[in-house]
Amino acid sequence: MTTITAGLSSGMRLRVPTLSANVLSVALRELREAVRSRWFLLYTLGFAALGLGVSYASSASAGGAGLSGFGRTTAGLVNLVLLVVPLMALTAGAGTIASDRERGMLVYLLSQPVSRLEVLLGKYVGLGAALLACICLGLGSCAGILAWKGDATRPLSMVWLAGLSFGLALGMLSVGMLASVLARKASVAVGTAIFLWLALVFVSDLALMAGTMALKLRIEELLAMALVNPLQVFKMWSLHAIDSSLDVLGPAGLYAVDEYGGRLHLIFGACLMAWVVAPLALAAAVFSRRAPV
């Protein structure tokens, strides 16, 4: 319990300028490794290429010049983020500690004058920064293409999309690192991450659909269950931010806006924050207790 509180308080301290020097140096090392690694290059190129494809195709097809709104462009980008960003973040998180342990890197790291918590947080910050770079390069070039094509997507919606994608990435990175701390082998950790990705992207939605059709779930139940899934939270939040309403999501969206109104931003934020903090705290608790090798 004390470890969790310690983890939380360090987490809080991260956001203030008094960053622990150890955390920072681990983070920089992790960022450098990540940025120079093959996965980063692959994911960034893949994400940017797919995003550019989506942007190019959707702005080419729009027949009505100057009509802005929640069009196919934004829908396509939200869709792409939902598919790619969680996969990226989950596997990045899962691959870090377990593989360091396998390579004997972890023993080396922990022999330095740094605490385990600092190693964990440093890795989290470093990988988070790498993901931020990846998302920004991807979505930034999408925005560039859209501007060049004269698409009517509002500028602010791209900023929202990038910010919220980063939030989603941080949550999924937390989950990935938890898997990595728990697993004994890197392959198991990455496998678990991919399984989790499948569950969050497809299985939970299919279950929700089946539940709605078969069990006749009530709207508030459906909404509550959707809020458990960070991907749905990201999706609803981006729609709410971009379109300033959730009409587009039918009765459940109307219900959400009507029931919670201005508090929706807070609710979405809290849900996403829970996915960032809880798995990371748990990972910190487990990691501080376990033998390194």
């Binding site: 027949g63 709104g69 790498a130 930034g140 925005a143 997507t153 990038a162 959707a226 749905q232 009765p251």
Partner: protein, 475 residues
Amino acid sequence: MFVVLTMLLALTGPASVQEGMAPPSAPALSDGPVNTGRLGAMIREAAPGAVVLVPAGVYREHLRIDKPLTLIAEPGAVIDGGGSGDIVEIAAPDVTFRGFVVCHTGIDLDRENAAIRVLAPRATIEGNTLEDILFGIDLREAPDSVVRGNRVGGKVLDIARRGDGLRLWRADRTLVEGNTVHDGRDAVLWYSTGITVRGNRSVRCRYGLHLMYSDEVTIEDNVLTENSVGIYLMYSRGVMVRRNQLVRNRGPSGYGLGLKETDRFTVEHNLIHGNRVGVYLDGSPFTDAQPGVFTRNTIALNDVGITFLPAVRGNRLSANNFIDNIEQVSIAGRGELKGNQFWDGDVGNFWTDYVGYDKDRDGVGDFVHESRTLFENLMDREPKLRLLLFSPTQQAIEFVGRAMPAIRPEPKFVDEVPLMRPVAVEVGAGGAPSAVGLGAASAGILGVGVFVLSVGLSGRLAAGLRGKSGRGGGA
């Protein structure tokens, strides 16, 4: 709020029909004394048929104009009702009332406190500005009138406590032109045959234009934005709807254009953009007398382009642009659209989701456009599933639907001759896209990415911050 609105909408339907069977013939009179002030004296003293020029000034009184007069306000003439009752009542035919500012009615919904109430034919209400009023211009049994160029601003009240900005009740052949109504409840045009509604604006009301039992009507060049419903036509025959802009009418009952049991109608050259539902069809056309004609409309970026209730048939849609509506066409519940035709002769519609090509380059797609997607089919049956829109599961389900013909739904509708290019529509499009803003956003987002990347590549935060100069100094 949602409940109240729904209840209100539910009530307006049947309740008003009941009421409508016998419209009130006995006019409600203003409360309290009228014509007591300076302006009242001018009206009393004027001979019938006279032209009265009203000098600038604030007149705190309630008026009844009971003889044919032409009242023309000089700039700055204000009639202030002081927050009670009706303000101006026109009880004689052939009255012209022009250029006044009329403000501060009461807020009694039962007595329908109005800024200007007309109870006689051939009135001309022109160029007035109505502010802080419950009901704006209320024409009762006032045929052959003209309501032109007025600005009507409602009281800032909850929608359930507002009054109608504009109301016609048995006012046949009236012209409603160039008025602006904002923050009101409805613009109600009921039991009025042969009216023309042209070039009006309605913003942030409930119904932009609400027609009921009004036949042979022309509605053109109006701009109706951010209302709950743009235009709702009910139980009317012979309606022309053209060159209107119906934009961002949203909320639980957000329709751009709704047609309920309306017959013999033509909808053309309208821009229907960003509404929750672009066009809502319920029992229209009502008879087989004439197909419902939809042609040369741009229906773009609505959550649903057109919603058909299951039994709707007899519509003919051609040369429309269906642009990036999240669901282009939906059927509310189970049913089919076989009774409606999505082309006319060899002209179909332009669909942004058409996947075919045009090898012979005749402007018509070589394959039919048919809409049969499994997820939309599920959504039509269970609207709650809309919550899962845009998630990858949606794509997965569509893919499964395509891959396994056994579970592929029947086509919702077929356009046999889909157009390859959008059709020109007379009404203008929205504002120009802001490429500069988007470019700036792009640069900003990219900038963050490049910065983090450079920190990663250099391995030092300080180097990343100082960039080249730092490295130069080191060398």
